[in-house]
Subunit: 346 residues, 4 copies
């Protein structure tokens, strides 16, 4: 009988998650088996927990959830050359096909055959996970576990901020969840001229200030457009980094975007919405970039550079820590909006 | 008393235009006086003729209309070094300030202090026009007048097509008015892999085929999405060049745009509309570029290169010719949609 | 005993090649076995034939030579998903590691662990070749064999020409060997404003004209700088595509390059040489790009687009055809410089 | 009789400079008259002082030298709209034609009709200077004079560092004169992963460390290649910023440049030199950018952003201050190499 492990799974359609015992997974010839040292909770996990419309369509229970993971390689398949057993790795959550035109032209992050761990296949809120070797990014052995586990999500921030060139530019970040505040840190590291941030949570606005925002505004209680215009000599911002998905934030963001400005969009909207295409994009000669995942693996190299040079300090992002068994408490805090990143330890 | 000239003017608020006698305009120290040899009608002129909402807000009668103009320099101000009297010139319609940050960083096409001839100040449906010397683009003396007059509008096509790199790519052009069909010609010249075009006018779809479209589809009578998918092995297109402003065309265009694709938008929508931001931009990792005018003056240099090398033949674009006195006939044909470019000769 | 095949090999150090019988090669789990339908001769093969300094250092006999190859997949390893047995394929000659930072960021063409078929491992002047499945590019079944075999080398031309944006630009191509004339064809397809070409062989200059050069000049008998300046209103060219490696051609090319111009360099010089760094690069604000191989696999997709749309016609490039047995005759013509591409049929 | 001012001039061919009384210059309708508050010494000024070969060819005495200048606008021509009398301005030293294709396409920094103040026309080592209004960059009134005067030269550093994207990259700066150390500061501000610097002066290497170099090496006393390889896991650097013009430094720099790396070149070599084109550029797929002046005026906007956000602190760059009368002392220190920037106050 296979040795067992504990794992947090979506066992059946409907709200909630549960911790169960499962066999430690097998690994294929080009895969590695990773003993999880930490996993962090993403907004996506909350959608799965709550079993919203998106989850209902996408998730096929039972599945182990969790896609932000770091751990130690404890075994590897016969065809694997990198990483080695014993390596301390962070996981890229998208397992790509390597065969399509996207994968074959350096754009694997938009591979249409991708499988996301914790969503399309078993994830990392567990003691072990098996994953394609190329998805295991080798960290220096002395990297703090809490930083290592953040890297997958940090990559979203890096990918978004580097979709444009923020250096010496005025930047607006709409949405100060964990990715939003990490995006602020990246823009600050890359010498943005000034950084404005909006959110609806005072807790998160405090984190935004801590990560480097010059001005962090409550999008419902303050007049964002007026205040940012005042702070920019009436000009608005060169760059919008949209991390919220809220149509009202998108509207504010484009209202503040200068003619000729650039907008990188990571936030996912609740659905289609009405938008003033002419004034916000066409007449404004705006450049708008949809952002998906991380560039594989360019973003990981960039992230490493930022973290290891000390240009970005991710420590303040982690606000809560729990044993994996206490995942219910963790999800409750996550749902409250009163958190940065929450890390689980199996 | 100043010598007089004939001119087509919007004399007062309301529909219609009239031909009147006006003094030949004065020119300033940095301006040239141009004797108009030809002027062509743009969609904007039709908006002014009809006096729609946009016109009502923007136009302050009386104003001579017309902004697509070529002619001969007959006099120049004391500070002018280029062009010379006698030069055959086409006019750039945007008179920019040269002082703002846009003008000072090679982005004068989005100068916020711009004045558009025929809209904000007197235009070229007249015998003479005075304009800033830098707006007079010198043509070779033997360039056909009908080609010379097209260059301003051709520049929109060049600017849009070159917002991305169409070479070896699959391209969809939505909207086959004069700019649309010139955009097709540019994409063809630059070795697009294949070009699909849509419009609602059979007349214009014929022009689209003549200018190089591989497949020209009637957007209301044919299943555009199905047919373009069939023609692209189910993949869709790499590049969308949106020249119509019709929300339904924008919807079709983005539905056909491949993940990771690029869209350049010149068409002006009738107003805000509902759009599936997530699927069309964010998840698709699309790159979207609002296009405004022509790059000053880079687009003009590019246009010259395409026309003078013979890579683009603009002759089929001009479908109708009228004396300036017959402007009413010209506008009637323009309004019918059964035309390419209509040229007026004063 | 393994079934045998004929193959042209460098059997031992020293000049010359010989045809021998060898076992049909084995193929690994991620490899395919290709029955060669055609192979063409590259300048590199001539270096190996002659056993020059470079060959002496790089080649470890015995090795089957030849790296420009097309053929049919007759078998594949267990892990191969693409291509299928029966597919008609062209081969990318660089077998890359897929593990290094270059390979992992879409820059496999500069992988430092690359192995070149026909150089570092057995090549395709033979009846069969085994190669990594990802190196087998699937062609449409009806593609002419002579075009299919050209694609690897055509990729060098595409990579070089597309290192910059040639559309509407004045271009100088120095060196009219097969890659040079294919580069001319690409620049012509992409609507270069004008194309100037230089070589020392009248035969090749004729091919250059046939492929689209506006002016093809004998670099030793004509005053290249004077004539190109005359043809460009004294301005010189926007873009230099250097395909010769001759220091004198490099000198001429940079002398003709406009301030702010771009140079893409594929030609390999005979050794270090003296160069006026200040005037040719620094003061001129030139941008200079070293070109290596083809982008994997972006260049292959671009090449396909150009060939299949008909924008580029490669037929005139092939000037000679031989049975593989007659390789000595083929190499003799190759050495004479009086040829375009020479294709061998096993 | 015109009011007089003191000015440091090259009065006649030959070494040396002298201070004389000259009439305060007239200004044209599009010019401003600036009362100089500070001027700093550039390497170019030293060449003029020493009357080397370059100076002999380029300079036509008598001319007031000095091109790094800040001051107050005390009068302006009738056609000037910006700046205002009373504005505190720094001067761009290149007076461009505004008429050529470069000027008309946002590339005025490579205008071939440019006139450099202090070289081609009277400069700013004087109490007053007249200059085209567009060359007067308006500073905030409270900007320290020593920072304001640095901006022209700082622009060279910004232009060079931003010719590539240094963020998260390993960077080598060869040459630690004032521009070199400011380039280090820009790379540090923009979150370079690591910065290596070389020079032959211990004094300058100390400044390099102060401005943010991780490792500053004496190019003649230390094994630069070995040490930088050791510091980069044997890989070398992603980016070379060449500020010295020394062929030996260029050789070291390219030896350390990774395959696929980028090199921006500002340093001016003493003359043509022998270079291994194949290994340093072609095989390496290097991208090499000649840098000339500052982008007009994009670099100025970038520079402002970096200085005003506090991302770059230029204070340590200024190591010496003199009254204009003491220019001989200043030039002597400049010649010793034991200085950062030397500022003169008239």
């Amino acid at each position: 009988m296979a040795p067992m492990m504990k794992a947090v799974v979506k066992a059946r359609p409907g709200a909630g998650l549960e911790m169960i015992q499962r066999p430690i997974p097998d690994y294929g010839p080009s895969e590695v088996l990773v003993k999880v040292r930490a996993a962090s909770i993403c907004g996506t996990d909350l959608h799965i927990y709550k079993w919203d419309k998106w989850a209902e369509t996408r998730i096929h229970p039972p599945v182990v959830v969790g896609h932000e993971v770091c751990g130690e390689v404890v075994a590897r398949g016969a065809a694997v050359k990198v990483p080695n057993v014993g390596d301390f790795v962070s996981l890229e959550s998208h397992v790509i096909c390597n065969l399509c035109a996207y994968c074959r032209t350096g754009r694997g992050h938009i591979c249409q055959n991708t499988h996301l761990i914790g969503v399309d296949r078993d994830g990392g809120f567990a003691e072990y996970i098996a994953i394609d070797a190329q998805n295991a990014w080798v960290n220096p052995p002395d990297m703090p576990v809490e930083i290592a586990v953040l890297q997958e999500n940090f990559g979203n921030a890096v990918h978004t901020a580097f979709a444009t060139d923020v250096t010496a530019k005025k930047v607006l970040v709409t949405g100060c969840g964990p990715v939003g505040i990490m995006t602020i840190a990246v823009a600050r590291a890359a010498a943005a001229r000034s950084i404005y941030a909006t959110d609806v949570s005072p807790y998160r606005l405090d984190l935004a200030r801590q990560m480097g925002a010059d001005l962090a505004l409550n999008a419902v209680k303050e007049n964002v457009v007026e205040q940012v215009l005042a702070a920019t000599d009436g000009e608005g911002v060169d760059i919008l980094l949209e991390m919220s998905g809220a149509p009202s934030a998108i509207e504010q963001g484009f209202a503040l975007l200068k003619t000729g400005g650039e907008a990188a969009l990571l936030g996912v909207a609740p659905g289609p919405f009405t938008f003033d295409w002419n004034h916000h994009i066409v007449f404004k000669a705006a450049r708008v970039y949809g952002i998906s995942g991380r560039k594989l693996w360019e973003t990981w190299y960039q992230s490493r550079g930022l973290v290891r040079s000390g240009a970005v300090d991710l420590q303040p992002v982690v606000t809560h820590r729990f044993q994996l068994e206490d995942f219910e408490k963790a999800f409750a805090i996550m749902a409250s909006g009163e958190s940065g990143k929450i890390v689980l330890f199996p």
